[in-house]
Symmetry: C2
Subunit: 263 residues, 2 copies
């Protein structure tokens, strides 16, 4: 496996970052707002990103880093190796719940995801994949996803998109709520991707995600047969914010064509 | 503590039921629908309820049992001791996810909740309370809830009530989605009550719950200062389905008066 050593290295870094995060619960959180009052960031988000960057720059000096907190590189193309990192995906959960957040990391080579990781720190569950070699939850292989139908599906979807909003026709999503078996909203894109990969939910829809939110999870989800695109059905570019849909293959096209209508 | 021995007994029964549920994952689930296609029940729901009833009838023959699966007693008044049991709260999660469900149990004496339990089987987290003696998560006391504001609150709320429906004016709930920090939907009333009691979410709203869904959680939530009523602001009766709101005291009244308008 071409990236075996890099996989060992990344997993070790992630586990050590997880220990740092767990230790942080005994100290005081410093919470700031970013673009709006609910786009929160803490000192821990920043420290964990800097921890990754410090080690990656030392041990893989040719690699670039795209990190949520902005301490990485300015990247305009995905040549070579790029690490896409969200040190704490689900910061609101991290602050309010001290659970239901994850470290999200994807390592891309010339724009192709070769390694993906989602680490549910509190439950010590590491979802991982090497492209072409299957996905794992800790040491257990994650089975390839079977097909399902819309009426049996559980969908991850934030109520912010179900109410009138400027990004998507919410009537289509109201119909979706009516047609599916259930809707869940967990507040972490990375964990919802992990849930899709393990078949706990059948799709996850978002109107605005950044590359670091999804880079790791997409590698994992694709290894078990899920399909990930933007909400126009186009391939993901991983260079800017975009809409997002990941779903079991059997319902991906139906979700796009029957329920999604962007403004 | 008046109910100490009953508390030991109930906890032991719950833990043993949890072991049975965990063992069930290696055997085949038989899934049936009840009132509609998405009101699911499995052989495990039924077996666990019968397990409780068998032991309670043997060891506490004077006590009555109100159970979701209907193997208990027909109850028209809450005189004496009544056990209100949902053997698996969040059956859809149980089936699809093998997690995010709970055993929910409240023991009421002459209509007053004296003991409450929510057992997150998979994470081995037992939330419990004896009325007047505080609430616990496993062996750790759960702190009394501090105050919060609507704009900082995370609310547990199913999207089924945010879309047009026949029970509540959804415009009020759309405004709520806009005003709060975040909405979560986990698919288990008992776990959402446990989340309110531990401050991970700040309120939980439902338009239709049965006594066994909330009986245990209400005892726990009240011990840490949360307020639980129906959506008319009236005390809960625990004899029939009703609407439901549990919230930190500081936002309970505002939620009712500014956002809730029943049809």
């Amino acid at each position: 496996m071409e990236h075996q050593m890099l996989d060992y290295y990344a997993k070790d870094l992630i586990k050590k970052a997880g220990i740092k995060i767990r230790h942080s619960f005994s100290s005081e959180l410093a919470i700031e707002s970013k673009s709006d009052a609910n786009d929160l960031v803490t000192n821990i988000d920043k420290e964990i990103e800097q921890y990754f960057i410090h080690h990656i720059r030392k041990d893989y000096p040719g690699h670039l880093i795209l990190g949520e907190e902005g301490f990485g590189d300015n990247i305009s193309a995905l040549d070579g190796y790029v690490w896409m990192l969200d040190p704490i995906d689900g910061t609101m959960n991290f602050i309010h719940q001290q659970r239901n957040f994850a470290i999200s990391l994807g390592i891309y080579k010339d724009g192709v995801g070769v390694l993906g990781y989602i680490y549910d720190v509190i439950h010590n569950e590491l979802y991982s994949a090497q492209k072409g070699h299957g996905a794992y939850l800790n040491d257990e292989p994650i089975p390839v996803l079977e097909s399902t139908t819309i009426s049996e599906a559980i969908i991850g979807l934030s109520p912010n998109w179900i109410i009138p909003n400027r990004r998507i026709d919410n009537e289509g999503l109201i119909k979706l709520v009516q047609d599916v078996r259930g809707i869940r909203s967990y507040g972490s894109a990375a964990l919802e991707l992990a849930y899709v990969a393990t078949g706990r939910i059948d799709a996850y829809i978002s109107l605005r995600l950044s590359p670091w939110d999804i880079a790791g999870g997409v590698v994992i989800a694709q290894e078990v047969g899920a399909v990930a695109t933007n909400l126009n059905g186009q391939p993901l570019k991983f260079l800017e914010q975009d809409t997002f849909l990941v779903a079991r293959k059997s319902i991906h096209e139906t979700l796009l064509s029957n329920y999604i209508s962007l403004k």
